[in-house]
């Protein structure tokens, strides 16, 4: 595929990942004009919660931050079983009628977001859900798009993009090679 070759080229030539803290600052400023007083925020475990905590604070959102673990809603449960570390979901606000900003670190296939949206609806019917992610790495398999993005960074399928949190709370990005299962 022509597209994936150019992505590979991008990585091997530059090997330079963007600075997560700069992306976070950019994402915060994109969200700021649109965030209302009554909006609520939800982070998806684990990286999404890190990003959401920082956004939640920077934007001064008044209601407490919600967290989701989407393990019970994953579409690959019948193939790979239950995730070994499921954390409790906690949405400490009324979902019914609320305006939700859903936060994840990396947007890729869209399956995580599909699962998160399904889970949110089991708490109630929100007025709307907007999606904010630090990075959109392309490769969507579902009709899902983010309204707020820190950066667009297309990556081939054999690369795994990982967000890390340092002990001082600073975020950084790493990339590593993964083995793809044979199709």
């Amino acid at each position: 595929m022509q597209r994936s070759i150019s992505y590979n080229l991008f990585l091997t030539v530059t090997m330079q990942l963007p600075d997560a803290e700069q992306l976070l600052a950019a994402l915060t400023e994109r969200l700021r004009p649109d965030v209302g007083e009554t909006d609520v925020m939800i982070g998806i475990h684990t990286g999404g919660v890190w990003v959401a905590k920082r956004l939640h604070q920077a934007l001064g959102i008044s209601s407490p931050l919600g967290v989701l673990d989407i393990s019970f809603y994953r579409d690959d449960y019948s193939k790979i079983g239950l995730h070994p570390q499921v954390k409790p979901s906690d949405l400490p606000f009324e979902v019914e009628g609320s305006r939700i900003i859903l936060v994840d670190d990396v947007l890729y296939t869209g399956r995580t977001i599909r699962a998160a949206v399904n889970e949110i609806f089991d708490y109630g019917r929100p007025a709307c859900i907007h999606l904010a992610t630090l990075i959109d790495r392309g490769g969507r398999e579902l009709p899902i798009a983010a309204q707020y993005v820190g950066a667009i960074l297309p990556l081939p399928a054999d690369k795994m993009l990982e967000l890390k949190q340092e002990s001082d709370g600073k975020l950084s990005l790493g990339v590593r090679d993964i083995c793809l299962p044979e199709k």
């Binding site: 499921v86 906690d90 019914e96």
Partner: protein
């Protein structure tokens, strides 16, 4: 024995038959997963799509209300289809063998069997017989094991006491006939509880019970000293053959839990009972309904724990 029949070749849980021999990592995985399910009960939609399209058969060869109901609720919260069979009243009374019953239900595309049977080893036999994609949960077999009860008890203890490593736990009453006690003892010792006591008259203790790693007491006054968790067992009238006891009244006098006896344990000790209770036999109503009782929490937590077991099994 070369391999734990509960585990598949990757060391994952394939069936849940007993807490004996299960690694601590699997016990903790079940308890941690149950924590996540506990919150589902408080939501608008108390359902999760995990077991959508799966069929869970409740095979109860021995009567039960609480266990069968909580398994049914757990399976339904996971979106499974649940079929309840009261076998005592059906095919077996017409002469069908246990394995023929299981074969017929497997032919109806069962994904999971929840089995209660008055014979020890029944769930084990079914597990060794079914196709590899079918999972079996032991919901109590004879005097042998009742692993989900023990797990929900461990979940309850952890909720109230946080850590297993500094606890003294006493199991009081009819240890001899109790599958619950056996499963609890294995789970408690695996999870690192340093001191597990059994308190009972000699006639209600299995011989060589010390081999399970417990301390034996015949007297409540000594046995309850410094205890953090009291587990009262039901006096199993229906399993008593002959005269193990002089009378229920006399049993209550020596082993029934009253406020007075409870005051011998630690001030913040919790009181548990797997149910159903014989009030005035093994436990006084004032204690059963008192501040230190967590008996109804056990029932509530039982749903989350059974959801965790089912979802882990069905995914392996």
């Amino acid at each position: 024995m070369n391999r734990n029949p509960q585990l598949n070749k990757h060391g994952e849980l394939q069936h849940l038959l007993t807490t004996e021999g299960l690694p601590v990592s699997i016990l903790l995985h079940i308890l941690d997963t149950a924590e996540s399910f506990a919150g589902v009960t408080e939501r608008e939609v108390k359902k999760i799509p995990l077991l959508r399209g799966k069929s869970v058969f409740n095979l109860f060869f021995e009567s039960s209300t609480r266990t069968r109901t909580t398994f049914e609720i757990a399976a339904k919260r996971l979106s499974a289809d649940v079929i309840n069979l009261n076998i005592a009243a059906s095919a077996q009374s017409k002469g069908e063998t246990l394995l023929d019953t299981v074969n017929n239900l497997s032919a109806m595309h069962a994904d999971m069997f929840v089995v209660r049977h008055l014979q020890s080893g029944a769930a084990h036999m079914i597990a060794s017989h079914v196709r590899p994609e079918i999972h079996v949960i032991n919901a109590g077999d004879g005097r042998h094991a009742h692993p989900t009860q023990a797990l929900l008890d461990m979940f309850t203890i952890r909720r109230y006491k946080k850590d297993f490593h500094n606890l003294r736990v006493a199991i009081v009453g009819d240890i001899l006939h109790s599958r619950v006690a056996r499963s609890q003892i294995h789970a408690l010792t695996t999870l690192g509880v340093p001191e597990v006591r059994v308190i009972a008259p000699k006639t209600l203790l299995p011989s060589k019970v010390e081999r399970l790693g417990v301390r034996v007491y015949h007297d409540m006054v000594q046995g309850l000293k410094d205890i953090d968790v009291l587990i009262m067992l039901r006096l199993q009238n229906e399993r008593m053959l002959g005269a193990s006891l002089p009378s229920a009244e006399e049993y209550f006098k020596y082993y029934g839990l009253t406020q007075e006896k409870l005051s011998l344990a630690k001030q913040d000790a919790i009181v548990m009972h797997p149910g159903p209770m014989n009030r005035g036999v093994e436990i006084d109503s004032a204690v059963a309904d008192g501040k230190q009782s967590v008996i109804l929490s056990q029932v509530t937590f039982g749903i989350a724990v059974r959801m965790a077991v089912m979802s882990i099994l069905a995914g392996n």
